[in-house]
């Protein structure tokens, strides 16, 4: 293993650790919604510092690798893709933190019926699962798995679109629970963005492994 190989391996393990932390952040946030556990939500908020620490470290490591090793070809694409993935992951971390803040600020536990009608928890599971799958695809350089992300993201989009009328309906019927409806709707909006970040990461993986640029391509070009 060359010196550069060792640096790249370390970079990969670093971003994998960050990734796992963010998956945990989403899982904890979901649990905090279900159990209305403000302490758990506060833990998520506190952990955001660790996520930011990872982001800074990975940025710096990438900069050093560019400056010291002048990577080319697949090595160059790898470092470029890690740099961008780092950014996408950091934003995903922000999303978990943002939802955790709703929980801390909310006055009442979330209405179970509203949660189920809006499919908020289904969406949570799916978003976390997608993030896990992109990680697997990154770890194994599995672009087939990465390509499946594009379709799975559409499910999140659908839930997001449907949520508008469900929440509007709920607020009309329960005007006292306006705040609650808004928090749920905002949560859904944020979860929808987790899907977008995962899509971006999937594109980076395909770029790195196959040297194909999918950004701004039409949906059908993304399939195999």
């Amino acid at each position: 293993m060359t010196h550069l190989d060792e640096e790249l391996k370390q970079l990969k393990s670093e971003i994998t650790n960050m990734w796992n932390l963010i998956i945990q952040q989403l899982k904890k946030t979901q649990e905090a919604i279900v159990t209305f556990d403000k302490d758990l939500a506060r833990e998520v908020i506190a952990n955001e510092k660790r996520v930011n620490g990872f982001e800074l470290k990975i940025d710096r490591d990438c900069e050093n690798i560019f400056a010291l090793f002048n990577p080319v070809a697949v090595d160059l694409r790898f470092v470029l893709s890690v740099l961008k993935t780092n950014n996408n992951l950091e934003r995903t971390g922000d999303i978990a933190e943002g939802i955790a803040k709703f929980i801390v600020n909310a006055n009442h536990s979330f209405d179970e019926k509203l949660l189920s009608q809006t499919e908020t928890l289904v969406m949570f599971e799916e978003a976390t699962d997608i993030l896990q799958d992109v990680l697997t695809s990154f770890t194994n350089e599995d672009t087939k798995l990465a390509r499946r992300i594009f379709q799975r993201d559409e499910m999140l989009d659908e839930i997001n679109i449907k949520a508008n009328s469900v929440v509007a309906d709920y607020i009309r019927k329960n005007p006292d629970n306006l705040e609650q409806g808004l928090y749920i709707l905002s949560t859904i909006r944020k979860l929808e963005r987790v899907g977008d970040q995962c899509k971006n990461i999937a594109e980076e993986i395909i770029f790195y492994v196959e040297a194909k640029v999918l950004k701004h391509a039409k949906g059908n070009q993304k399939g195999d």
């Binding site: 060359t2 010196h3 550069l4 900069e63 050093n64 400056a67 010291l68 090793f69 002048n70």
Partner: protein, 249 residues
């Protein structure tokens, strides 16, 4: 600190070639010396094994400590110093002898005759210089039958055989093709686990790839000396930045 210099000045007769160089080098690190031709890199390197002493009219002031010992002190034994501080040059310079004898040479001139000991040491040095697999079946062949890159690794093995703790390398890869260069660079990275290495290079990318610390020399002065990461991402001195970005002159 493995090596420490304080206010080192060197004159070739009345030419002031090194100007107040102060530098500290930790054990088991690679330090790269970079800078334009004629800035004093090789001169500074030769300070550590007192090779400049061989040149007429050279005068040195300041302090140079290796393992806490002032190497220009009267008490310093130059033979011991040169055993402790090995050197590898730009052009591979094997002797017109067999591969085996090239590596054994330093041991023999140091009075070692034990055949088994010499064989073991030669084999170990060739392993360390990543050459063993390529030469193990032709140890009696002339060193000149090896490629340039192999000859350079042979010279590294020759330096390692007498068990120095410091290795000086003066542009050790500049006469080699890219693959041989990559091998030497990987070798340097391996060797730093056991040795302290100072390498002069005019190849900036090479300094980035192999070194922990980098010193930028200009007109006999050490302009900037810092972690290689810092020199290559955020040098403090504009002259360093101009040099490493190729905007020099």
């Amino acid at each position: 600190m493995k090596i420490r210099t304080h206010q080192v000045n060197l004159y070739y007769s009345d030419f002031h070639a090194l100007k107040g160089i102060t530098m500290e080098i930790s054990a088991n690190t690679v330090t790269a010396l970079i800078g334009p031709s004629g800035c004093g890199k090789s001169t500074f390197l030769r300070v550590f094994n007192r090779m400049n002493d061989l040149i007429d009219g050279v005068k040195i002031t300041g302090d140079i400590f290796i393992d806490g010992q002032e190497i220009y002190d009267r008490k310093t034994n130059i033979d011991d110093l040169r055993k402790n501080v090995g050197m590898v040059f730009q052009k591979p310079n094997p002797f017109p002898k067999s591969i085996f004898e090239n590596v054994a040479y330093g041991l023999r001139v140091n009075g070692i005759n034990d055949k088994k000991f010499i064989e073991e040491r030669v084999e170990r040095s060739l392993h360390q210089s990543a050459l063993w697999d390529e030469v193990k079946d032709k140890m009696k062949k002339s060193a000149f039958e090896l490629s340039g890159g192999q000859q350079q690794r042979l010279c590294i093995a020759r330096a390692l055989a007498i068990e120095p703790s410091i290795i000086l390398m003066d542009e050790p890869a500049s006469a080699l093709d890219p693959i041989s260069t990559a091998k030497i660079e990987e070798l340097i990275y391996e060797l730093k686990k056991n040795y302290t290495i100072i390498i002069v290079t005019h190849n900036m990318q090479q300094a980035g790839r192999v070194s922990d610390k980098t010193g930028f020399f200009y007109l006999g002065e050490l302009i900037e000396y810092d972690d290689t990461k810092i020199i290559f991402t955020n040098p403090k001195n504009p002259r360093t930045q101009n040099y490493i970005t190729g905007r020099f002159g």
